[in-house]
Symmetry: C2
Subunit: 235 residues, 2 copies
DNA sequence: TAATCGTCGATTGTCGACAGTTTAATCTTG
DNA sequence: CAAGATTAAACTGTCGACAATCGACGATTA
């Protein structure tokens, strides 16, 4: 009567999924700054370089477009999104809105396991603070915030966070330095975890609002004094 | 020859843009219920029916996937997303979060012109309430809420609203009836506009929270008692 | 009889090609 | 020499084709 093969726990081997791979590679290239804002993304070029045809590249590009990393000018091609200061503002504004909500939801789902996960992530942040690796530090910071969205338990919330995060990473990569002492940043997250455990909605909201708002102010300041090389392409 | 045509603000007529057209047609088909949740979307079939090749159809499908209307099972194709009750909850939850925020922002940008626009939309809703056209009534309702996001002035906020709205429309189409008397709904929006003009953040938030929450409760109830024909396909 | 294996049609993922358009490079001409 | 016209190259949008893969159905076997 057993109709299914006895489920031995095998890890599903990665289905080639060309489009996804191309999308990831392009995303990395943008974040790492190999593709600067305003740069043209030539389909044939990418395709040749990756050893695939243009079809998967186009589909991947459409993905990144919807995600806000590329813009498509019909008949002219895809370009790396140029983030103006106002875009940064929009993203941070939305981020506050979303993460405050996530925080309140997460505090309701807070279990010992979740608490430990967050706690450990803060430890990692402290360890990383010793090393001089901006990219890594930023990544660990995002991981903490992402965990909150995971714990909140809404797939859409999480995806939204990921979208916003990749837009921000794009800019952060350009700034090239942190906006504060890494240890201090890690400490700030401890305070955050504390109010999450306490579970009072208003306090959580206020705290996250302030926490992200601080980053916003700093990043905003840095972006506005960026060399114009990042803003100087076609509209 | 061409001396850069003087850019009079004409709405650039759709540059054939096959992908966009296909996407719109598919979206409509899903909302109108011609493509039921769980249904398989056969690329070749759609392509033949629309008289185009599979490439644009694939790209359009990827778009709708990112937008949450389709899901893609690798090597098996695209399927119309099956929205479970928990999905509805996620969407409404996010919608409250987003629209409360939009409301507060909008109230800060409130001008006489904006006020009139909203006012007129409420009038339209009252007019539509007389006619017996659910689809139309729902559409006018969404338009009002969309206006708030427009007035808020954030492109990302607006796009997010559109995404959430199309996910909801998909379900609302299935329910096939309104959750309240249309005139009563229109009236509720008058109250909303009132607090928006007053401009007190807490009150706006509370009001919108309640307003959308009411719809959530009603829609949730209806969804949970839907015929299982909408939940009965492959995972 | 019921479960498994093998085969066949249908469908996806990917590719190379072609036409039309945009971009650049070159050539005119005042 | 500069500004506009002209030509050439490069690129996008779309198509049709082909191999790989999936699901269904019937054959096989204990």
């Amino acid at each position: 009567m057993r109709l299914m093969s006895p489920p031995v726990g095998l890890t599903a081997l990665a289905d080639t999924d060309l489009v996804g791979q191309v999308a990831r590679i392009l995303t990395q290239a943008i974040i790492k700054g190999q593709l600067l804002p305003g740069a043209k993304v030539v389909e044939a070029g990418i395709a040749r370089e990756l050893g695939v045809s243009r079809a998967p590249v186009r589909e991947a590009a459409r993905l990144l477009e919807q995600q806000g990393l590329l813009v498509s000018h019909p008949r002219r091609g895809f370009f790396v999104r140029k983030l103006e200061a106002t875009d940064i503002d929009e993203v941070y504004d939305l981020r506050i809105c979303v993460e405050c909500h996530a925080g309140v939801l997460a505090s309701k789902n807070m279990t010992p396991a979740n608490r430990d996960m967050l706690r450990r992530q803060i430890d990692v942040m402290h360890e990383t603070a010793a090393i001089d690796d901006h990219a890594r530090q930023i990544e660990e910071d995002y991981k903490f915030h992402r965990m909150i969205c995971e714990i909140a338990g809404s797939k859409r919330l999480l995806r939204l966070f990921d979208d916003l995060a990749s837009e921000l990473r794009m800019t952060i990569g350009l700034i090239g330095r942190l906006y504060d002492d890494p240890h201090r940043i890690a400490q700030t997250h401890e305070a955050l975890l504390e109010v999450l455990e306490q579970g009072h909605a208003d306090i959580i909201t206020a705290r996250i609002d302030y926490h992200i708002g601080a980053a916003w102010r700093e990043v905003g300041k840095l972006v506005r004094e960026l060399p114009s090389s990042t803003n100087g392409a076609a509209t």
